[in-house]
C-alpha cells in the first residue's frame, strides 16, 4: 500500500496527474469508500486493503471530463469495465492514468457476520501484501477466519489476475477463481418453472428500489436512466408505477446485456442481499452459448453481440426449452 501511496504522491507532485481516485478509510474498518485525492495530506486517510472491493472505473466518467489527468486505481477485474467504457466513448482515455493495483481477492463482511463475528473493533490480516488468516478484534475477543472463506463470491469466479488496460501496475495479483462461473445459473436452470418463479419472486420481493445497483453499475452509465426519463412512460419513482416496479431488474439486466463485464458490484452493494448478478450472468451465459464466447471489456474494439448478427443465428423459439427433459 505504501508503494502505491508514494507513487500517487509522486504523480501528483510531478504534475502527471492533478488528482487521484482511490479509497479512504470509512467509519468502520471494513467499509472504505471511494475518494478523490489531490493534496499530499489527503493520503493520510488513503487505504487499499481486502475490503476495497469498489470498482472505481465508473467514477472516471466524470473525472476524465475535468481539466488535467486523473489517476485511478483499478483492480484487474475493474479494468474490463474501464475498457467497456472506452468502447462506449464514456471515458476519455487521454485524461486517465491507470494504475493497475494488485489484488488477492476482495472480502465480504457479510460472511464474517454469518460466521457469527460481531462487535468488530479492528481487523488485521487484510493487507494487500499480506497472507494468512484474517484476525478480528471484537468486543467479544479475538476471532480468526481464513482469508478465502471471507472472500466475495465474485472473487471465486475471478476473471484472472491480468489487467487488460493500464499505464503501470503496482503490486502482485493472485488468481482467486476456484468455482465455475455459471454454476449458480445452471442450478437455477435445472429447477422447475414454478421453483424458478418462486426463487426470483422471493428474491425480488426484498428490493426496496434504493437504486444502489444502478448507481454502482459501470454499465449503467447513462446520463439519464430510462427509469428517470419520459420516453417510455416508465419514469415515475417506485411504488407509483407498477410497470417499473415489476420489471426494473429484468429491464436493467437487458439494458446492460452484452455490455456487462460481470464485475459483480450490483450484488456487492445490494443492501438487501439480492443476488442481482444472476440476471447478468444468465445473459452472459446465453450469449456465450448462442453466439460464441464474449467477454465485455476484454477488447475495446470487439462488436457487442447485441449489435451484431450472423445469418444463421439461433431462432428465438430454440432459445427456450433447452433444459426441458
Amino acid at each position: 500500500m505504501q508503494e502505491l501511496i508514494n507513487r500517487l504522491k509522486e504523480l501528483l507532485a510531478d504534475g502527471t496527474v492533478v488528482r487521484a481516485i482511490g479509497w479512504k478509510k470509512g467509519d468502520m474498518p471494513y467499509n472504505p469508500e471511494p475518494a478523490y485525492f489531490e493534496k499530499p495530506e489527503d493520503f493520510d486517510d488513503f487505504v487499499y486493503d481486502g475490503f476495497c472491493g469498489a470498482n472505481l472505473s465508473k467514477m472516471m466518467i466524470e473525472a476524465t471530463k475535468l481539466e488535467g489527468k486523473t489517476a485511478v486505481c483499478l483492480k484487474p477485474c475493474d479494468t474490463y469495465s474501464f475498457n467497456q467504457l472506452i468502447r462506449e466513448h464514456r471515458v476519455n482515455r487521454d485524461n486517465a492514468y491507470i494504475i493497475g493495483v494488485g489484488c488477492r481477492g476482495k472480502l465480504d463482511i457479510e460472511k464474517a457476520r454469518k460466521a457469527g463475528i460481531k462487535g468488530i473493533k479492528s481487523i488485521s490480516g487484510v493487507d494487500i501484501e499480506g497472507s494468512g488468516d484474517v484476525v478480528f478484534d471484537t468486543i467479544y475477543g479475538q476471532k480468526t477466519m481464513d482469508y478465502k472463506d471471507l472472500m466475495l463470491d465474485r472473487c471465486h469466479v475471478c476473471k484472472g489476475k491480468e489487467h487488460v488496460i493500464f499505464d503501470e501496475v503496482i503490486g502482485e495479483s493472485q488468481e482467486t477463481g476456484d468455482a465455475d462461473r455459471f454454476e449458480e445459473v445452471r442450478a437455477i436452470e435445472k429447477m422447475t418453472p414454478e421453483e424458478r418463479f418462486e426463487f426470483f419472486r422471493s428474491e425480488l420481493s426484498k428490493c426496496i428500489r434504493c437504486n444502489a445497483c444502478r448507481n454502482v453499475c459501470p454499465a449503467c452509465s447513462c446520463r439519464k436512466c430510462v427509469f428517470d426519463n419520459t420516453k417510455f412512460d416508465s419514469q415515475q419513482k417506485a411504488n407509483v408505477d407498477s410497470f417499473e416496479e415489476k420489471m426494473f431488474h429484468i429491464i436493467r439486466a437487458f439494458h446492460v446485456a452484452g455490455r456487462c463485464t460481470d464485475c459483480g458490484e450490483c450484488s456487492r452493494v445490494c443492501p438487501q442481499g439480492i443476488p442481482l448478478h444472476l440476471f447478468n450472468r444468465k445473459f452472459i451465459k446465453d450469449i456465450d452459448d448462442f453466439y460464441g464466447e464474449f467477454q465485455a471489456g476484454k477488447d475495446p474494439e470487439a462488436q457487442s453481440p447485441l449489435t451484431d448478427f450472423t445469418f444463421g443465428d439461433l431462432e428465438p423459439k430454440d432459445a427456450v426449452g433447452r433444459g426441458d427433459k
Binding site: H89, R223, F232
Partner: protein, 666 residues
C-alpha cells in the same frame, strides 16, 4: 391537448355486416381527446372525404382516427384529405377494422368489441402524434461512376444522354475494363473490341462526360444528393494537353525490350515498356510512366522518352493531384478479377506455362494479343493439338481458403465459346471439357453450348479433374473421372485452360466502406432489395452496376448499367429530395454518445459530433449522435439498440407504441 375526430367506415357491408359501426362510434365518443365521432358508408369516397374535411373545419380537429380498411390501402388517401383541410397529414392514424377485424371474425359482438379496442389504440396514439414535416434536401445534378469497364461506360453514357453530367473514375490508365481484353463475345461471337471501342470513343467525346483515368476515389462524405468526393489523379508524368498519342515514347523506351515488365493488360504473357498505354485503342490515348519500374525514376538517368517526345509532353515533375467534386449520385461499377490460383496446386498452374486461365486464353486468341491471335503453347510456341478445359476452378467451392462458394455464371458460356473458336480456326484440335454442371440459362445460350457438342463435337465429360501432371515430354497428363460412364480417365493434353472463379475487384471493399454501402461476405455489394431493388444499394444515392453486384455476363451487365442509369437519372431529375419524416431523432440531452446506434444503422445515417449542450444549466461539450434525415429510412433499429432511450422514431415513438400497448391491454 388534441381535438380528435373519429370516423368509422361501413365499407358497404364489408365492415358493417360484422361490426356494429354505430356502437363503435358511441363507445369511442368519450375517449380522451375525442371531440367528434361519426360513421359513414364509404369514408374513402369523395363524399366521405368531404365529411372529414368539414368536421376538421367545424370542430377545429387536430387529429384524425379513421376506422376502416388497412392503412396500407388508404392511409395515403386520408392523409391527403387531412392536408386538404389544412391538417398535418401525419396527424392521421388508421384503425384497421376490416382486414384485421370484420373480415376474419364472425361473431358480431366479439368483432365490435375488438373494433373498439383497435380504435382506442389509434386514439391513444394520435393523442401523442406531433405534426411532421417532410424534409427537403437539394440535389447536385452530377453523377459519379466508379469504374470504367463496360458497366461504367454504359451507365455513364445513359446518364449523359439523358442530359446530366457524369464523371468516370478509372484506376487504370485507360477505360475499357475486362471487356477490352476479350477476343469474341458469346453467344453471337462478335468481336469484343469492335463493339466496345466505339463506346469508349463516345465516352471520350461526350460533352457531358468527364474522364478521370489513372485515378482513384480517395474520400467520400455527404449523403444522397450531396456527396463530396475526393479523387486522386495519380501523376501520369505525361502532359495530357500536349500529348498527341503518337506512341513514339513507347517504342523508344529502352525497357520495352529488356525491362521484363509484365503487361497487366496481357496478363503477363507479354512485356511492356515503362512508359505505356495498356493497349492500342486506349482511351485516352495518353501514355503513363510506371514510376516503379522507370529507370529515370529509379536512378535519375535515361530520360529517353522526354528527349524524343515531339510535343514535349513528358513531365517527370508531375505530382498526384486531389480534386474534390460534388455529386448527387454515385454508381459503383468496379467489376471483377479472377481469383488467385496458388491454392490449386493440383492444376499445376504455377508449374507449367501451358496451364493457363481463360483470360490468358482470351489474350492468346486475340489478334491484338501477344501472339497476334495464333494459339500457341507458352512453353514451346507450338500449336496445341489436345486441349483440356477445366470448369469451376474455385467456383462453388466451400473452402474459403481456396475458392468461392458461388457459381461464377459466365464460365460455361465462355468455355463453349473458346472451344468453338478454336475448332473454327484449327478443326483437328481435340477439345475436352470437364464440368460439374453445364449452366446455360439465357437467350440462345443453351443452343450455343449444344452447338459446341453437336456440331463441333467438343467432348464434354461430367466430372471434375483431380490432377494435372506436367510430363517430361512437355505434355500434360490430366486425371479425371467420367462420372456418367463410371470410369477414371487419364489423358494427355498439350494445353489446359482453367475456368478460374471470378471475384469482385479486391479494391471494392475499401470503396464500399467509404460509401457506407453494405457488402456481403464475398465482397459483392448488397442490393437494397434482392428482388425489387436490385441496382440500388441500401445506402441512398448509391447504385450498383455490373459484376460489383454479382456475377453476370456482358448483356446482363449492360442492362443493369442501363437500369442503374435510370435510377440515377430519376434521382438527378429532382430539384429537391423529399425525405421521409418518420425518421429517428436523437435527444441530445439523453444521448451517451456510446455509438451503439451507429453500429446497427443499415444506412450509415448516424454520425457523432461534439456539441455544446445546456443540460438544465449544466453546459458541457458532449459527443452525441446525429441522424442524417436524408439517409434515415425510419426502421427504428437504433431506437431499440439505444440503452438510454435517447433515440426515438418519429411517428412510431416509444411513448406512442407504449400507449398503444396500454390501450389494448386496458
Amino acid at each position: 391537448m388534441q381535438r380528435i375526430g373519429v370516423f368509422v367506415c361501413h365499407c358497404g357491408t364489408n365492415i358493417a355486416a360484422t361490426v356494429d359501426v354505430k356502437k363503435v362510434v358511441e363507445m369511442v365518443r368519450y375517449e380522451q381527446g375525442v371531440v367528434f365521432a361519426d360513421d359513414y358508408m364509404y369514408m374513402c369516397s369523395e363524399a366521405g372525404q368531404e365529411k372529414i374535411i368539414e368536421a376538421i373545419k367545424e370542430y377545429k380537429l387536430t387529429g384524425l382516427v379513421i376506422c376502416s380498411c388497412s392503412p396500407r390501402m388508404h392511409e395515403k388517401t386520408f392523409r391527403a384529405c387531412a392536408e386538404k383541410a389544412g391538417l398535418n397529414p401525419y396527424m392521421v392514424e388508421v384503425a384497421n377494422i376490416r382486414e384485421q377485424c370484420s373480415w376474419i371474425h364472425k361473431d358480431k359482438e366479439e368483432a365490435t368489441k375488438k373494433a373498439v379496442i383497435l380504435a382506442r389504440a389509434a386514439i391513444a396514439k394520435v393523442n401523442l402524434n406531433t405534426p411532421l414535416k417532410e424534409g427537403e434536401s437539394p440535389v447536385t445534378k452530377r453523377a459519379l461512376v466508379i469504374g470504367g469497364g463496360i458497366a461504367g461506360i454504359q451507365t455513364a453514357l445513359d446518364i449523359a444522354d439523358a442530359g446530366y453530367e457524369v464523371d468516370i473514375v478509372e484506376k487504370e490508365p485507360s477505360i475499357g475494363g475486362r471487356m477490352s481484353q476479350f477476343d469474341k463475345t458469346f453467344p453471337t461471337l462478335d468481336c469484343a473490341s469492335c463493339i466496345l471501342t466505339p463506346k469508349m470513343v463516345e465516352v471520350n467525346q461526350h460533352p457531358n462526360i468527364t474522364l478521370y483515368t489513372y485515378s482513384e476515389v480517395e474520400k467520400v462524405s455527404g449523403y444522397v444528393g450531396n456527396f463530396d468526393v475526393g479523387i486522386r489523379k495519380k501523376a501520369r508524368s505525361v502532359d495530357f494537353d500536349k500529348c498527341t498519342g503518337c506512341g513514339e515514347c513507347m517504342t523508344k523506351c529502352p525497357l520495352g525490350k529488356i525491362g521484363h515488365i509484365p503487361s497487366e493488360f496481357d496478363r503477363g504473357l507479354k512485356n511492356r515498356p515503362a512508359i505505356y498505354m495498356p493497349f492500342a485503342q486506349a482511351v485516352p490515348a495518353v501514355p503513363v510512366i510506371d514510376r516503379e519500374n522507370c529507370t529515370y525514376f529509379k536512378t535519375g538517368k535515361c530520360g529517353v522518352c522526354a528527349k524524343i517526345c515531339p510535343s514535349k509532353a513528358v513531365d517527370y515533375e508531375q505530382q498526384d493531384e486531389i480534386v474534390t467534386v460534388k455529386y448527387g449520385a454515385i454508381v459503383v461499377a468496379t467489376g471483377f478479377d479472377i481469383i488467385n490460383l496458388d491454392k490449386f496446386g493440383e492444376y499445376a498452374y504455377n508449374e507449367s506455362p501451358d496451364v493457363i486461365t481463360s483470360i490468358e486464353l482470351e489474350r492468346l486468341m486475340n489478334a491484338a494479343g501477344p501472339t497476334g491471335g495464333h494459339l500457341e503453347r507458352m512453353s514451346d510456341h507450338k500449336q496445341p493439338k489436345d486441349i483440356v478445359f477445366i470448369q469451376c476452378v474455385g467456383s462453388r467451392c466451400d473452402n474459403e481458403e481456396k475458392g468461392k462458394p458461388y457459381c461464377s455464371k459466365v464460365c460455361c458460356m465462355y468455355t463453349a465459346k473458346h472451344a468453338m473458336l478454336i475448332k473454327d480456326h484449327w478443326p483437328d484440335t481435340n477439345i475436352t471439357v470437364f464440368y460439374i454442371d453445364v449452366r446455360t440459362p439465357g437467350k440462345n445460350f443453351d443452343e450455343f453450348y449444344r452447338r459446341a457438342v453437336e456440331q463441333y463435337h467438343v467432348n464434354y465429360i461430367k466430372g471434375q479433374v483431380g490432377k494435372v501432371m506436367p510430363q517430361p515430354d512437355g505434355s500434360l497428363l490430366v486425371q479425371a473421372a467420367d462420372l456418367l460412364d463410371g470410369k477414371q480417365i487419364k489423358m494427355k493434353a498439350d494445353m489446359v485452360v482453367l475456368a478460374a472463379a471470378i471475384e469482385p475487384n479486391p479494391g471494392v471493399r475499401k470503396i464500399a466502406t467509404m460509401l457506407t454501402a453494405s457488402i456481403d461476405n464475398n465482397n459483392f455489394l448488397t442490393e437494397a432489395h434482392a428482388k425489387l431493388r436490385p441496382v440500388e444499394s441500401p445506402t441512398a444515392g448509391i447504385f450498383l452496376s455490373g459484376m460489383a453486384q454479382g456475377p453476370k455476363d456482358i448483356p446482363e451487365t449492360v442492362s443493369q448499367a442501363g437500369a442503374a442509369a435510370v435510377k440515377v437519372v430519376g434521382l438527378l431529375a429532382k430539384d429537391k429530395l423529399k425525405t421521409n419524416p418518420c425518421t429517428a431523432q436523437c435527444d441530445t440531452l439523453l444521448c451517451n454518445g456510446c455509438s451503439t446506434c451507429a453500429n446497427v444503422c443499415p444506412y450509415g445515417a448516424i454520425t457523432y459530433e461534439d456539441i455544446q449542450v445546456n443540460d438544465h444549466g449544466l453546459r458541457e461539450t458532449r459527443r452525441v449522435a446525429q441522424v442524417n434525415l436524408a439517409l434515415c429510412q425510419g426502421c427504428g433499429a437504433c431506437t431499440s439498440a439505444c440503452p438510454s432511450g435517447a433515440m426515438d422514431l418519429q411517428g412510431f415513438s416509444n411513448r406512442q407504441i407504449t400507449t398503444e400497448v396500454d390501450a389494448i391491454c386496458r
